[in-house]
């Protein structure tokens, strides 16, 4: 139950990261408050480890602790649990990759809170560098994102044309269509030939 200081150190680091994110969302205290005092026990099967997530008014504490204190318990591999806690993998629950016991409504609510973590990066940045530079950075980022999207699309088209038209490494769609039609025709002819052969053979007998 108590794996020692290394486990404590790992949980402390994870908790600092998580609460750092939580602090960036001004709406989080009001979202966490209804869940305050409840504990989610997380039992990881691969690698084997377990810890409690205690929801407080403004933060979430990650601690080694006693499983009996938990409001709900969730069990699964590390990858499944991480995806699930981020709210990205509800399917994991349906696919029986996780085992859940206790107050599942609490687990669902906690998942929703964490999945809807809405960090206003522009506001956080504006506190450091000011409003006008933030707007410039934001516009710059939006422009860069659009340029990157456009460039990626162009590259994809160019690569496609180069491989199909210039290097002739792959057939294009019309060549494939012709090939498939030819294969279909051949299959039909073979079928007809087979039927005819069968008929001749049965006629002889």
């Amino acid at each position: 139950m108590y794996a020692g200081l290394f486990h404590t150190a790992f949980l402390a680091a994870a908790e600092t990261f998580l609460n750092g994110l939580i602090a960036l969302d001004p709406a989080m205290p009001s979202k966490l408050a209804p869940l305050a005092g409840k504990t989610l026990r997380v039992e990881c099967t691969v690698p084997p480890a377990g810890f409690n997530m205690l929801v407080c008014q403004k933060s979430i504490l990650l601690m080694q602790g006693e499983p009996e204190a938990a409001t709900a318990t969730v069990q699964g591999s590390a990858a499944t649990l991480l995806g699930m806690l981020a709210g990205n993998d509800r399917a994991a629950q349906r696919n029986n990759r996780t085992a859940i016991s206790g107050d599942t409504a609490f687990l669902q609510s906690l998942q929703d809170v964490l999945a809807n973590l809405d960090v206003d990066w522009e506001y956080q940045l504006s506190r450091v560098i000011g409003d006008i530079p933030t707007q410039a950075v934001s516009d710059g980022l939006a422009g860069t994102r659009e340029f990157a999207r456009q460039t990626a699309a162009n590259l994809r088209d160019d690569l496609d044309a180069w491989l199909h038209e210039e290097k002739k490494l792959f057939p294009d769609a019309s060549q494939l269509e012709t090939f498939y039609r030819a294969v279909d025709r051949l299959r039909l002819r073979v079928d007809r030939l087979e039927a005819r052969t069968n008929r001749l053979l049965t006629g002889r007998h």
């Binding site: 108590y2 020692g4 200081l5 404590t8 150190a9 402390a12 305050a36 005092g37 504990t39 205690l54 407080c56 008014q57 403004k58 933060s59 504490l61 601690m63 080694q64 602790g65 006693e66 204190a69």
Partner: protein
């Protein structure tokens, strides 16, 4: 405690002093170092005291709504950790015999905006001024070795613990590996020099080094807790036994 021909004496570091004088001498030590106490803890422990305190917190099994006594709470490290866990329905009492330390702790906690569930009191661990069976958990961290009469302190803590509650004693102890022990001894020789440099008071840290060596080892302290009435006593070594966290439970009525 040893019997002198004239009067009872006890140890203050390596020195033998009259029993009545120890609390005052310890008081002077902590009064002197209160302002730089946290910084010195980081220097001496290389920051590991934070992890050890967190590990102790994990062993406390605190839940929302519980009441907890942070005895010898000093600059409030533990109260800050306890407060969000017990929540607004719980209660944290920071108690210390030293006014300077409580003042630093109280200011620090108020500055962090935690006022809802923490209260403060000056109290001697040997005769705690609370009703019996008041606390679900009592934690004394790096405090017991400074108490003149440790048996009386453990008995008083036992009386204040609710049936079914637990006491946690975090204290320097004896390293389990002799090599580690030698390295630790060599390192701790530097503390008075660091203390002189940072707080301008090397003597207080000389006392700290000596008091650590005079403190009972893991098994002795465990037996003292059993003698005080605690059940299912156990201890967890941290950093190879440089520190140990003892846990004792008070039987349910």
């Amino acid at each position: 405690m040893t019997k002198d021909t004239e009067q009872e004496t006890t140890h203050f570091g390596y020195r033998e002093v009259p029993v009545g004088d120890k609390a005052g001498l310890v008081g002077q030590v902590f009064h002197s170092v209160a302002q730089k106490y946290d910084l010195m803890n980081d220097v001496m422990s290389l920051g590991t005291h934070r992890l050890i305190k967190r590990f102790t917190l994990e062993l406390s099994a605190l839940r929302p709504g519980m009441s907890v006594l942070d005895l010898a709470g000093g600059t409030g490290d533990f109260s800050l950790l306890f407060s969000p866990i017990v929540g607004k329905d719980g209660q944290v009492v920071l108690a210390d015999i030293n006014e300077s330390m409580v003042r630093v702790g109280r200011d620090r906690i108020i500055d962090k905006g935690l006022t809802e569930n923490i209260s403060y009191t000056l109290a001697n661990a040997e005769c705690l001024p609370f009703r019996e069976n008041s606390f679900d958990c009592i934690c004394i961290a790096y405090g017991l070795r400074n108490v003149t009469n440790k048996e009386a302190a453990l008995a008083s803590m036992f009386a204040m613990t609710k049936p079914g509650g637990r006491v946690l004693v975090l204290e320097f102890s004896k390293p389990v590996n002799p090599l580690l022990g030698k390295a630790y001894d060599a390192y701790s020789v530097l503390w008075p020099k660091a203390g002189q440099l940072i707080t301008g008071d090397g003597d207080s840290y000389q006392y700290l080094v000596e008091s650590i060596r005079m403190h009972p080892d893991q098994e002795t302290l465990k037996q003292m807790m059993v003698d005080a009435g605690y059940r299912d006593c156990e201890y967890h070594n941290a950093m190879g036994g440089i520190c140990a966290i003892h846990i004792g439970h008070k039987a349910r009525a």
